[in-house]
Amino acid sequence: MKIEQKLWTKETGWQNTSLEKLSEKPQLVLVFGGRTLMEDERYFKEIRSLYPKSHIIECSTAGEVLDTKVRDNSIALTAIFFKKTKVKFAETDIADIDDSLAAGKRLADALPQKGLVHAMVFSDGLHVNGTSLVEGLNNNLPPTVSVTGGLVGDGADFKKTVVGLDHVAMESKIVLIGFYGSNLKIGYGSLGGWDTFGVERLITKSKGNILYELDDKPALELYKTYLGDKAKDLPSTGLLFPLRLRIKEDKNREVVRTILGIDEKNQSMTFAGDMPEGGHVALMKANFERLIDGASGAGNMSIESLGSVAPQLAILISCIGRKLVLKERVEEEVEAVREVIGQQTAMAGFYSYGELCPSTPTEKQCRLHNQTMTITTFREE
């Protein structure tokens, strides 16, 4: 595996950031950038001219990660040449949130299953129910195939997210990459670092990922009470208080849910994943040190299955909620990951509206996470 990384900023334009320069034609080019940049055909054309034969995947973000730097409105490009591994691609349109499960199945069915070892998904971040998407993928992919990925972002605006495979990124798109062959070693890890506080509340009214009432009271009202004057900046400020969801019917499994949007008229809130009635939720608050420790822990998890040899590439997908909380300290979590996985690994990624990853390094079953640092590591032997 060979990797070349480039950065585009308004101030500097394109610049190489990696020492290595690819002499081969990369099969995969991952591009993470500000939403308006990703929508701008100019930049896609520039990238296409740089990599005319490669598959280019563009994702809008809520912050781009390249090496240990976190930027907004930049373009972080990672071109990957696999020596032995084959990659295949699928893309689908998602009609609306209710199409999430079917979209997951369509994507899974579109990839040839023979030799498939891992899949990475990049999905529209607003018009999707992450839980259903993951369910669709899990249902139709072989159980031996692990899936990681994320719901792409739109800064802290929550207005429009775009994804594209070999075209200018657009709304309502989901792209799935399939990795084939036994020479590719994959690792993954996902951790949060948020603490619950206050009383646990019962979800008394919800539909899919839309939450209406907690303990028979409007959920939006609760958020507004807790946010005070910050409520005017909803939905982004809602990320300061994610919810820990405990599902009794699923062995009391706990997941973190983050807010994607609000509807004043219906007094409802849309979350990145399912908020089932009968589930119990508790507000969560950030603890800086624990967030950083969480990132570091995710790093450790992600290299656990790779053994003593460091990965060549790490894709970091971290939640916008963490960025909003960490603010000027946000790079500390990326640095914490770097410290764990080593200096030789190329790092790129983005701040997302949802992270997709199995809960433990030994598990294959993908799950939707929120408010986590989720890392996928690659090494080709």
């Binding site: 506080f197 206050g198 009383v199 807790y226 507000l283 608050k285 603010k327 000027e328």
Partner: protein
């Protein structure tokens, strides 16, 4: 505008923010922003914890109230349960009594059938034998008719007694009026004398006249008449020789007139005393001396007296030591 902590530190160390070298401004701005963010975060956290505390307090209050409510309900329910338990226990006692009563009633019914059978069978057997004897010529038709007549009379008497029992156990219509029982007793004694004569018993029957004026009593005289006849009949049946004496007493502050019928007959034991007066009960020595008795006469008498707001008493010193059967009736004003 730098954060106030930075302003104070700048003043302390370099005399004021105006002395910060220009090239250091971005550095100070970054620190200032961090301080401000920290303040904001801290304020948000403080606010959240305060709200959360309030919610906990409120929930705690609600829980406490609910607990008190539950305790109250538990107390009330416990009380109700205790009350219900008591009622069930009382009902059980009643049911047990009713069961006992039913058992007695079933036994009584069986006795009734058994005795009815026996009481009717005896005269019927006599009549049947007489019929056979008339048919084969060993008895004259005239004598046969005599047997049949006496048998029929006995059957009628038995049937009448049973009807009386049934009537007494149902709703009895009484004709209670101010009456004198002197005449009833006199008539009964006179009739009894004839019976004694027929039976050829060495038995005397007398009325001990009291030293007070016998008052009127409230009663259904027709039925009391039956009682008087029955008690005197019994005295004759169970006394072979000696005397039957009838006396009067005023009792219970002169509110009741007591009539005693004393005999020198078979008497009864203490054990028998408890059962005499029950339907169909017959004392052992009564059975021996008068086997055809139904055991129903005294039960009828007792029921009639009680229906007339009186009471029946019986005493005996023991077997063959005679007995006294008495009844009281309320005196008319």
């Amino acid at each position: 505008m730098l954060h106030r902590i930075l302003q104070r530190q700048a003043k302390k160390f370099i005399g004021g923010v105006e002395n910060i070298p220009q090239k250091w401004n971005p550095f100070f701005d970054a620190i200032s922003k961090t301080y401000l963010d920290f303040d904001n975060d801290h304020a948000l956290l403080d606010r959240s914890l305060e709200l959360s505390s309030k919610e906990f307090f409120e929930n705690n209050r609600l829980l406490r109230e609910a607990k008190e409510g539950v305790e109250k309900i538990v107390q009330e329910r416990t009380k109700e349960l205790e009350y219900e338990k008591k009622r069930v226990e009382e009902a059980n006692v009643i049911i047990k009594e009713k069961n006992k009563y039913l058992e007695v009633a079933i036994n009584a019914k069986n006795d009734f059938i058994r005795i009815a059978n026996h009481q009717l069978n005896t005269p019927l057997s006599i009549m049947k034998n007489a019929y056979s004897m008339v048919c084969d010529g060993s008895l004259t038709a005239e004598k046969g008719v005599e047997y049949w007549g006496s048998g029929l009379k006995r059957i009628l008497q038995v049937v009448e007694e049973f009807w009386t029992v049934l009537e007494l156990e149902g709703e009895v219509k009484l004709n209670i009026q101010k009456n004198s029982i002197i005449l009833a007793i006199k008539n009964a004694v006179e009739d009894s004398k004839k019976v004694i004569a027929t039976n050829k018993k060495s038995l005397e029957i007398i009325i001990n006249e009291p030293d007070f004026k016998i008052p009127f009593v409230l009663c259904d005289i027709k039925r009391i008449n039956n009682v008087i006849y029955n008690l005197i009949d019994n005295a004759i049946s169970y006394t072979q020789k000696g005397m039957i004496s009838i006396s009067y007493q005023m009792v219970e502050n002169n509110k009741y007139l007591k009539v005693n019928i004393k005999d020198t007959g078979v008497g009864f034991t203490k054990e028998d005393k408890e059962k005499i007066g029950q339907k169909f009960y017959r004392a052992k020595n009564a059975l021996l001396s008068h086997p055809d008795g139904s055991g129903i006469g005294l039960y009828i008498s007792k029921s009639i007296i009680e229906n007339n707001k009186g009471k029946l008493f019986y005493e005996s010193e023991g077997e063959n030591k005679g007995s006294v059967f008495s009844f009281i009736l309320p005196v008319a004003d």
